[in-house]
């Protein structure tokens, strides 16, 4: 079922990522004094990419399933590397997510006044990388985009960030690059181990009948490499630090999309290419991510800095994504992907509220110093409520469906983990409510807060977009879940078949 028919002779996916390369080049050519022009160009093209992402999303035929919008060009044929793009029900929602978050992020970036040109170039490059990862079906190409997505963060955080920004930036970059070093090892292992001499994910995933011991050995670095980006315990510490240090839009993109790259890679690359390795290690992943979920939530409960709180809540939620992956069945995977989407939008909204609306006006994020902001900016309060409810898995918002599917999936494989992970839900509610009360509903304890600047139209529209998505998906999750489910079923099928073939 697909809502709109797109002409098939148009390279939609290439257009998608190129739609953000164009503004990069344009902005490079605009003199840096014309800040407003730069902002407009960036935002308009971000919006355009969102439109394209929507078109692809609705153009994807989920009844037919499988990979669609395929594009293939030879790139480095000697090594079996090609420019292969395509989407299935798993990455289509991710594209949409990135479109939404980058557009909202662009809107939230209008208050950056310092070195505007560089900022926008890097921000858009980051988004290009993310789009690239989600559309690439060639492992090598995917890796190229992956790194492209990670590196601009360093400068973005280092220059425009706050609170120990250099430390945060360096820590983040080193962790992520360490992760990609592991991924590189995994790539080499798959390439050489499979003996197929190709990086085509589709071919690799269907012919992964290389030795069990080998898979088991090299699955670990492969998965861990991606899981670092997804914030898996004990490699999660970069994430809160980085979030806190990053400027708002970057936090949004980072927590909203970039961490999903990790989870996406875990699934699409590590697990699909080494299903036997995955089968051997899933218990360990489940155990570690259980720590993520519960420990992350507990730490969030103790934080006094709002962004740290959200950072740790991301750790907790990404843990749920990974748990969903660890369940390795259709429902769990569906839930994981849904959670990626839901958490992406929700965290983006959080950071938009906390980073942009609150911090940029009050210049503090410490809970005890804030208060009574609901009277000053009720809109922000409502947005925080919506994001918070989604975060604690309130039915009717996107987060609920995701968590539900994840728990369903995990029940089947690790019932104990499902029960233990559920502890995080009331804890989440506790810290979200605490923050909500302290920041918005308590008595104003600072006179200055009564005269904060008004919210701008960019803030309104960006936040509304995100909130609307949360509600729409919360009310009608089938929009996403049917699509995801069909593809997740295919993925599980492929993995099972490969494992079976290996063990026969």
């Amino acid at each position: 079922m697909h809502l709109i028919m797109l002409p098939t002779n148009v390279p939609w996916l290439s257009l998608l990522w190129l739609s953000l390369v164009v503004p990069v080049l344009t902005i490079i050519c605009i003199p840096s004094e014309h800040k407003q022009a730069i902002r407009w160009v960036g935002t308009i093209f971000a919006g355009l990419s969102l439109v394209l992402a929507l078109a692809i999303f609705f153009g994807y035929d989920s009844a037919r399933g499988g990979y669609q919008f395929l594009e293939q060009l030879d790139w480095i044929p000697q090594l079996g590397i090609s420019y292969l793009l395509g989407v299935d029900g798993i990455n289509t929602p991710m594209l949409l997510l990135n479109g939404i978050v980058i557009f909202a992020g662009a809107l939230m970036s209008w208050n950056i006044n310092e070195r505007v040109k560089e900022y926008w170039v890097l921000l858009l490059l980051l988004a290009v990388g993310v789009y690239g990862v989600f559309v690439a079906l060639d492992l090598f190409l995917l890796f190229v985009f992956y790194e492209l997505a990670v590196l601009p963060m360093y400068i973005l955080i280092g220059v425009w960030g706050s609170t120990r920004k250099e430390y945060g930036a360096m820590k983040l970059t080193l962790y992520l690059m360490g992760g990609s070093a592991l991924i590189l090892i995994g790539m080499l292992a798959v390439y050489l181990g499979s003996g197929l001499r190709t990086f085509d994910l589709l071919i690799l995933a269907e012919n992964v009948n290389f030795a069990r011991q080998f898979q088991s050995l090299f699955f670990l670095p492969f998965f861990t490499g991606f899981a670092v980006l997804a914030g898996m315990f004990p490699f999660h510490t970069w994430s809160p630090t980085g979030h806190v240090a990053a400027p708002t839009a970057v936090s949004m993109l980072h927590a909203g999309v970039l961490m999903k790259l990790g989870a996406y890679g875990c699934l699409r690359v590590a697990m699909m290419l080494m299903p036997q390795g995955a089968a051997d290690w899933l218990w360990a992943i489940a155990a570690l991510t259980l720590i993520n979920v519960v420990y992350g939530a507990l730490i969030a409960l103790t934080q006094r800095d709002l962004k740290f709180m959200i950072g740790y809540s991301s750790v907790s939620h990404m843990g749920l994504v990974l748990i969903g992956l660890a369940s390795a069945n259709e429902t769990g995977l569906t839930g994981a992907v849904l959670q990626m989407f839901a958490h992406g939008v929700m965290t983006a909204l959080f950071f938009a509220v906390v980073g942009r609306m609150v911090y940029d006006r009050t210049h503090t994020r410490m809970l005890p110093e804030l208060g009574g902001l609901a009277k000053v900016m009720p809109f922000a309060a409502w947005m925080f409520v919506i994001a918070g409810l989604s975060s604690m898995g309130m039915p009717g918002l996107a987060g609920f469906w995701a968590e539900l599917n994840i728990f369903l999936g995990v029940w089947e494989r690790f019932p104990i983990v499902a029960v233990l992970a559920a502890i995080s839900i009331p804890i989440t509610a506790a810290y979200i409510l605490r923050a909500l009360y302290q920041v918005f509903f308590s008595e104003a304890n600072n006179e200055a807060y009564a005269h904060l600047p008004k919210l701008t139209w960019q803030e309104y529209s960006g936040a509304l977009l995100l909130a609307a998505v949360l509600i729409i998906v919360g009310l009608y999750p089938a929009l996403l879940s049917d699509m995801i489910h069909s593809s997740a079923a295919e993925v599980v099928q492929t993995m099972r078949a490969a494992t079976l073939a290996l063990n026969q």
Partner: protein, 553 residues
């Protein structure tokens, strides 16, 4: 075995470089010969620009000769223009035979094959960048001599890349090195420069001796084993050495000689543990010269090493394959020169990159990084031990690709350090503080080259690293590849320090950092090449594929 005149086209680029050197040497006779500063600058500019323009021309001719961009079709009409092209390309690497005689190394000593051709083009490019930056930034005393020495060194490198005989190889090394010793110590009024020149010279001479001793042993071995054979009298040729090993019963002497040669070359290449001189020399030498030394001469050394090991010592290659590499079981035990190089590579990788971490001087940091990079390059050299001929081809391709990419990335980095140093008077990393605010394009170019060195996609350095890892893993050395991957991750830390300084730190002065236009344009073009090679590696890979099998005939 005689030299015939028709073989002159095969040496054309070298000859042209020599002609240019002589021209440059005599060029300043047409200039104002005053001793004041303006006159000196003027002389420098004229000699330097003559060099640069000449190098561009030679590059163009060599490129035309190579046939990589345009190969004259066989049925092209005959007219003076096509005649020139035809004659030129007769000496190019594509020509299978010359006047009915199959192409063999000239006098058995110099092979103008694809490897040499690509190397020539790269060296000319490096020399071009160096001379352009030099005349835009340096105040050079006796500029004619400076550029002439640069060109002579380039000739030496071209010869090193093509040498297939011990004597020519030795002399080519010396022709490369002696001008570089002088260039490193060229600013004799600068303490650091003269000291660098001295150190470079001492270590260079010492390593020459060690290598020569190895050569003499190898010669003795082959003369012993191959006397009365078909190659008698030519026992210094690589292929004679290789053939003599086939009839010898005991190769201990050969092994010792080979180790001496590897050690000697190792000194030249600054691989651990023979690297001690490198940081001092790189830091002390004039920055442009450092760029040239750490890139072009290193590449030439590696090409010589490659040809030497693969053509002269194929029987001693041994294996690096450990069990459990995910590959079909390899029978050969670990050993041979590949294992030796693997050990050196491991040391080099670990030491070079770790030692770079605490550096605060930009040149010194990059010199340690160069040492570290040599470790990656070595992966490509020993990867030739893979048993499958296809994998051997991949090893060679990846090595040459890496060398070219390393050369262009690194030379850009040094060129930019040179420009910054000229403006701020310091070559510490702190001189880069806030470069993005003072000159954004320059900062962007530096970012490209540094990240390419670090191996970040989509820059060329990434594909190079990736490819060379692949090759080494194919050869079975997966533990070393693992180490290399982790080390390349560690290396990112110090490369990022450039980014940190340029983008994050506040500038010490706020006024714009002006850069000469020509220099910036040159750097920009080369950086674009880095980008282009990263996005579309086939641009170069297609050419490099020609070198898959190193000619031994």
């Amino acid at each position: 075995m005689q030299f015939t005149l028709v073989e002159i086209p095969r040496l054309l680029p070298e000859l042209l470089l020599l002609v240019l050197a002589v021209l440059v040497l005599g060029s300043d006779i047409f200039e104002r010969w005053a001793s004041n500063e303006e006159a000196q600058i003027e002389r420098n500019r004229s000699a330097g620009s003559l060099t640069s323009i000449g190098l561009v021309l030679i590059f163009g001719i060599a490129l035309l000769q190579s046939g990589y961009v345009y190969l004259l079709p066989a049925d092209a009409p005959t007219n003076p223009l096509t005649n020139i092209v035809r004659n030129l390309q007769a000496g190019g690497p594509y020509a299978g035979e010359l006047l009915g005689v199959p192409i063999t190394p000239i006098l058995g000593a110099f092979h103008s094959d694809h490897l040499t051709m690509i190397a020539r083009l790269t060296f000319i490019l490096a020399a071009f960048v160096t001379s352009t930056i030099a005349y835009e930034t340096l105040k050079i005393r006796n500029p004619g001599e400076f550029y002439a020495l640069l060109l002579a060194s380039t000739v030496g490198m071209c010869l090193m890349a093509g040498a297939t005989e011990l004597i020519l190889a030795f002399i080519a090394i010396e022709l490369t090195s002696i001008p570089l010793y002088i260039l490193a110590g060229y600013f004799r009024d600068d303490k650091r420069s003269s000291e660098a020149g001295m150190k470079y010279f001492l270590f260079g001479a010492l390593s020459s001796c060690i290598m020569l001793y190895g050569m003499s042993l190898v010669f003795g071995f082959s003369a012993n084993a191959g006397s009365n054979g078909p190659n008698s009298g030519f026992m210094t040729q690589f292929r004679s050495i290789a053939e003599s090993t086939e009839v010898a019963s005991n190769t201990t002497l050969l092994v010792v000689g080979m180790i001496f040669m590897i050690v000697g070359l190792g000194y030249k290449l600054a691989v651990v543990p023979f690297h001690a001189w490198a940081p001092d020399v790189y830091q002390g030498a004039p920055t442009v010269v450092t760029g040239f030394i750490s890139t072009a001469s290193k590449m030439a050394g590696f090409l010589l090493l490659l040809r030497l090991l693969e053509v002269a010592f194929p029987s001693l290659v041994g294996s690096v394959a450990l069990s459990y590499s995910g590959l079909p079981a390899v029978e050969a035990p670990v050993g041979g020169w590949s294992a030796l190089l693997a050990l050196i590579a491991l040391l080099t990788l670990v030491f070079g990159n770790l030692a770079a971490l605490p550096q605060t001087n930009a040149k010194r940091l990059l010199s340690y990084s160069s040492i570290g990079q040599a470790g990656f390059i070595l992966l490509g050299v020993f990867a030739w031990s893979a048993i499958n001929p296809l994998d051997q081809a991949i090893a060679n391709t990846s090595l040459i690709y890496y060398l070219v990419v390393y050369l262009i990335s690194n030379i850009v980095a040094f060129a930019i350090i040179c420009l910054v140093e000229q403006q701020s008077g310091s070559d510490e990393i702190s001189a880069f503080n806030g470069l993005a605010q003072r000159n954004l394009p320059l900062a962007a170019l530096m970012t490209i080259s540094v990240l390419s060195l670090a191996g970040i996609p989509p820059l060329a350095g990434f594909f190079a690293k990736f490819y060379i890892f692949l090759a080494a893993w194919q050869a079975g050395a997966w533990p070393i590849v693992l180490a290399a991957v982790l080390v390349s991750f560690i290396s990112l830390y110090y490369y990022l320090r450039f980014l940190k300084a340029m983008f994050i730190e506040a500038p010490e002065q706020s006024e714009r950092l002006t850069v000469p236009g020509t220099a910036l344009a040159t750097i920009a073009v080369v950086s674009l090449l880095v980008l282009a090679l990263g996005i579309y590696p086939n641009l170069l890979l297609e050419l490099v594929n020609h070198t898959q099998v190193i000619a031994s005939n």
